[in-house]
Symmetry: C2
DNA sequence: ATCTTCTCATACTCAAAAAATATCAATAAT
DNA sequence: ATTATTGATATTTTTTGAGTATGAGAAGAT
């Protein structure tokens, strides 16, 4: 019993006519008759009742036909499924991201991807850059949005592409401005003001690169940060700023996270810039990943 | 692309080794390699990454495999489904019955059938003997439990088998006995008492054969029935008896329908007998029907 | 470093299966 | 009666699937 014979059976069951069925199947009638007969012999029961002029299904044939039809239909959608998987229009894409990306590239990227590839199962995981790199290295996940280390420290097994490069801005309690504790000039905060203010910042182990970028700002000005509090979530940091506990240096895109009592102010002079980009394994040739990369090329994220 | 190639693909995907897969498939390795290659060519994408020493699935292959596995599994259950349909262990059986059978043969028949063939979809329809015969004649339903007409009036297209032959008994209001309006002697009701009592009976058009059996009882005794009420359901008739409206002549098996205020009493002498039997189309060779018939032969219903 | 082994690919041959052609036989309609 | 229709049978041809023999490249052993 093979799919060919089953197809033959279905066609005869539909037409109830060997000649016409053979035509539909692109073959001649004799081999079709033989095919059905051998199928019946194998099953040990007739599928059709044939008089010399008429063909009809036996009760067994009639009840079996829908099962066969369903199995054959499933079989025949396999090439279509394959095509969709090959083109990356179906399948899965597992994307990890650092929490800061949540306010900049991630939403627009995810939205566009979902729009273009609605049938791809996109799974998103928040993780630090280090953890993302480790997971990808172990073959877990397809791509990660990270804050990149120095080029030489990025393992050879990865490709990297910059997504966005944005200056840090200060998130400050609104009250401190009203009380003249901070004095922005022309919409910019002076470095003396920054240095003099208690700082709320990520713990270094959670985001070493971002942490280092902030502390280097102080070091470059011959000072060191007066870290009053660590917090592991951007939202928590902003909440603490709102409570007047201190200021924070955050990526500019965090302006999207509006919160009463918090003002975002540009830094005076050349602000440190935070780069965010995408990494993926060189040897990963998943088509869903390829589609994501293509989409990244097409989008103007900066 | 055919089921054979897909099976090859699945086996290689499981073993990740062409030689061992070929062995599992009962073939040699070269044609297996060719089969996979031709499948890959047809799909337009590689299913496996082969180095000279290693085989692994491509992302596409890995994602396609479960779809293929499911389709092939469905395909391979078709012979099993066919066997069950052929043996009548799956499929459907549509049985109609007269309402009186509800209290005699039907429950035990249905119970036993369900027990033996739990996967057969058994559909039960209550109908008069005439309607059942007509439906069967039109190819609707498999068998019917009817009160049979004279043999010569049963169309040639049917087979018939008696299931039960039971005497009619009188269903009488309990109060009438207490009030000595009826006087059973030795547990039997005299025909004078029957003739003298108002009768509740099926309308003739709903059950002509049963109706005729009852009226012939009166005719044979030179009387005619004093029909005080028609009712179309056995339960209604017994309810009316319980209310003291009259008596009814009912099949003995109706004793199973106990009701306060109603007594079932044998008729004096030779009581009219009601036959109930099964009909089916001679040319219906459904295996579920065959199983029902076999079951009927094995059971002692009388 | 060389040799052996493992493993998938290639070239070629053969057998079995599928389908074609030609024809038959039975039935229904003209 | 005759003809057209339709499924079955007989026989040949084509296609497909699988076999054998062998090659080539990589990993591991000596």
């Amino acid at each position: 019993m093979n799919a060919r014979q089953l197809k033959h059976f279905l066609t005869v069951a539909e037409t109830l006519h060997f000649g016409r069925a053979a035509e539909l199947l692109g073959m001649t009638q004799p081999p079709l008759s033989q095919s059905i007969m051998s199928l019946e012999q194998e099953l040990g029961a007739p599928l059709f009742l044939r008089s010399r002029r008429h063909v009809e299904l036996t009760p067994f044939g009639a009840q079996w036909a829908p099962h066969v039809a369903s199995a054959i239909a499933d079989l025949e959608t396999l090439p279509e499924i394959a095509a969709r998987l090959i083109e990356g229009r179906a399948g899965s894409l597992s994307l990890s991201f650092v929490s800061t990306a949540d306010y900049s590239v991630l939403p627009v990227l995810v939205h566009r991807f979902r729009q273009l590839y609605p049938d791809v199962n996109l799974s998103l995981t928040e993780a630090t850059s280090d953890k993302q790199t480790a997971a990808l290295s172990n073959g877990v996940g397809h791509a990660g949005i990270i804050i990149p280390p120095n080029r030489e420290r990025l393992p050879q097994e990865f490709f990297y592409r910059r997504l966005i490069r944005e200056p840090l801005v200060a998130a400050v309690p609104e009250s401190w401005i009203n009380e003249k504790r901070l004095n922005p000039v022309g919409g910019q905060l002076k470095s003396e003001d920054v240095i003099a203010s208690p700082l709320i910042v990520f713990p270094r182990d959670a985001a070493p690169l971002f942490h280092d970028l902030v502390t280097e700002y102080y070091a470059a000005r011959g000072a060191s940060a007066d870290v009053i509090q660590h917090a592991i979530q951007m939202q928590t940091i902003i909440s603490l700023v709102s409570a007047g506990m201190g200021i924070a240096l955050v990526p500019q895109s965090l302006r999207h996270l509006a919160r009463t009592g918090v003002r975002y102010i540009d830094l005076e002079g050349a602000a440190p810039e935070l780069e965010t980009g995408l990494i993926w394994r060189r040897d990963d040739n998943s088509s869903t990943l390829a589609n994501l990369l293509e989409l990244v090329e097409e989008m103007e994220l900066d």
